[in-house]
Homo-oligomer: 422 residues x 2
């Protein structure tokens, strides 16, 4: 008997029929002797429907701040689906109870629409578990010190589930989703992509932040920080699949160094085309220019990803970075208005037709030549590299968007990711 | 400047366009210098949609109790509409904030799906009002001592609004709805029905409980108990109607005896066809039979309305009462199984094709012959009276359902309700 947390995404909760299947699956786990905490997302489409109504009432305008009320609004989607799941569990003959974030309580800061969990009081949940109940806890939401409802941002239910698993020292947190695990790359781009049976949380962190949409990145950070074993698996297997088989399915995200992991140098190829590149040309090369440029960007709440500063030539340098495509126009306008005049740079240029492709692998720590291998593969395909960024366990390149699929497939093959693990 | 509570029903909140109109109307009142608390219902159809999902997951079965979770579920409708209204108010340039019942707090008992308000802590709302904000408070819901969400039952938003008005000692509570006031009877049955400019809360209480659907009966009880001036008016007048004209429109429900009221003996004709009649025939006439019969009915949570016991003949009597039509079959089965054998009665007979028609008027207290006048009118129309029930300010008769419209129209005319008040 163990304490297990299940998390179900919006698609898995998308209709009463699917909710009933979730209830049957959870009941199976509970009847096998496990203490069960379940964290459901809102029914698919519901959050968009609610926020769409808000947008009709208050089309976004600079300076407007409806965030507190948007959280009051959006949080109702998860509350409704949690109550529905509890009812479905009761209909399956289980004792079940659902709690909103403020009831547990899931305490967060007051950053409405993107709050961060500060603490979870597990007393109420534990008492219910000990009384033999299945406990459903709303994902995505919490409550701040002033008693306002907050939400954690898109995908926040993953984080809720992991945070609850951490607070309750759960044996494992199972993230049920519409894919059956973490793949070496997106199978829609590379049909030979292979499901990983395990992946380290550091690799997962890089893959999530690099655009693998399986898990919200903060949930992976949380899992790593609190060492919560996290499994990504499909909610579309039959609910009455053998529980032992189910418990081994999907991809386990591990945090223990000595875990029996696949020893491939590169575990996966991540990519995204959500970014745009901005270059500030002819910047006088003196201390503080990075701060001068990026400080203005940060003040405007724009997140920066890859940052490159080229070698200086004649006392001037080029400074390039990438931002989310949605922030591109705003960032360029800002730099032209505020930074260009004071910095004495020559020009601002940009490109939205780029993509980022990365190889990720914990084995890269101990292997040399992995990055140069990557560059060779791309060169052989005639793909020009515009920016390079590296970390201990990943190497990313920014390339022309039109070569994205080609690059992913070539790298997938070159690093033997289409071959079963040794 | 006064503290005013507005309540808007589901139809008034039925679309973003209507919510925008509500916001404009509230903003007009706030700009006229009033402190505004607004209590909206869920968007029309939303509560039914949510409860419909629950019904799909757990078709109602005897012994099942999903009530706590149904309240978690249903309360989300009002939370969403409150947040949307706050956003619409902000878009109108107002400072606005919305609170769920547990945030205010609106404390109730733990009778899920039909909780009763026990207390309201107005501190948070008052601080916001003093800071110049419009405060939106969810209707229909509260929180019990254990921190569970409760709901007040259908139409509960009226009660919420009145309870908040009472707690805050509001100058007036305006109930905006899809009718423009309280009528002498239902205009769909009697086209000459006339809007009352004022009605006493005792009359309103009788009319509400007798089937006038304008206000939830508990809201009227609350208004009477705490002497909250209550006005029923239309939300379908243009939002920019002159505020003085709007403040005089609809029907004012008064509680002061010396108020300048319409002095008609009969103020209105109420009716409903939701009841069914059950008669226990040939009951041995001895002490305790009413308790014996109705105790069993009450234990099954069935509400009884009109109760009649006929004169005894040969030591036996007939005992008749009405219940809601939905409870009819259950009540008859119960009586046949449990009461008939032990009581030694002859038979149980019933009739679902009945209706109840009532004349209501505070003037009846001081006028004799009003009831007999009613019986004469019905007799002249050839309508047979099956049961009679009277109180200080109303007389009700149970008649064949097919005569309902005829009876209402004849009584409306006989008591001069089609004539303007003196």
């Amino acid at each position: 008997m163990a304490l297990i947390v299940h998390k179900y995404g919006g698609t898995s909760m998308g209709s009463t029929e699917r909710i009933r299947n979730v209830a049957k699956r959870v009941a199976k786990w509970a009847r096998a002797g496990h203490q069960m905490v379940v964290v459901p997302s809102a029914m698919s489409g519901e959050t968009n429907r609610l926020l769409g109504l808000a947008k009709e009432l208050a089309p976004p305008k600079p300076g407007d701040d409806h965030n507190r009320e948007l959280d009051m609004l959006a949080s109702t989607g998860e509350q409704a689906s949690s109550a529905l799941l509890a009812i479905a569990l009761q209909a399956e003959g289980m004792q079940a109870v659902s709690y909103a974030g403020w009831q547990v309580q899931v305490k967060t800061d007051s950053a409405f629409t993107k709050a961060r969990i500060e603490s979870i009081d597990d007393e109420r949940v534990r008492a219910d578990l000990d009384a033999g109940k299945v406990v459903v806890v709303t994902g995505f939401q919490g409550v701040d010190d002033a008693g306002n409802i907050t939400t954690l941002g898109r995908g926040g239910s993953d984080t809720s589930a992991v945070a609850i698993a951490a607070a309750m020292k759960a044996h494992e947190c199972l993230i049920y989703t519409d894919v059956d695990g973490v793949y070496t790359t997106d199978p829609r781009v590379e049909p030979d992509a292979r499901r990983l049976t395990t992946v380290s949380f550091e690799e997962m962190l890089e893959m999530a932040s690099l655009g693998s949409k399986v898990l919200q990145i903060r949930s992976v950070e949380f899992a790593g920080k609190y060492k919560v074993p996290l499994r990504v698996l499909s909610s579309f297997t039959p609910w009455d699949i053998d529980i032992k088989e189910e418990a081994r399915s999907g991809t386990l995200i591990t945090f223990e160094e000595d875990e029996n992991m696949e020893q491939a140098v590169v575990s996966g190829i991540a990519f995204n085309r959500d970014e745009a590149k901005i270059s500030v040309l002819g910047v006088p090369d003196k201390p503080g220019i990075a701060y001068h440029i990026l400080g203005a960007i940060a003040d405007a709440n724009i997140e920066v990803d890859v940052i490159i500063q080229n070698l200086s030539k004649d006392g001037r340098t080029d400074f390039s970075f990438t931002v989310h495509r949605n922030d591109y126009a705003k960032a360029v306008d800002l730099l032209k208005a505020k930074v260009l005049p004071t910095l004495g740079a020559a020009d601002i240029v940009g490109d939205t037709k780029i993509c980022k492709v990365s190889i990720v692998g914990i084995g890269m720590r101990s292997h040399v030549g992995v990055a140069s291998n990557m560059f060779r593969v791309l060169s052989e395909e005639g793909i020009n590299i515009q920016m390079i960024s590296t970390s201990e366990i990943k190497t990313s390149v920014v390339i022309d968007e039109k070569y994205m699929e080609l690059a992913v497939r070539a790298l997938h093959k070159a690093f033997d990711l289409d071959q079963p693990a040794a």
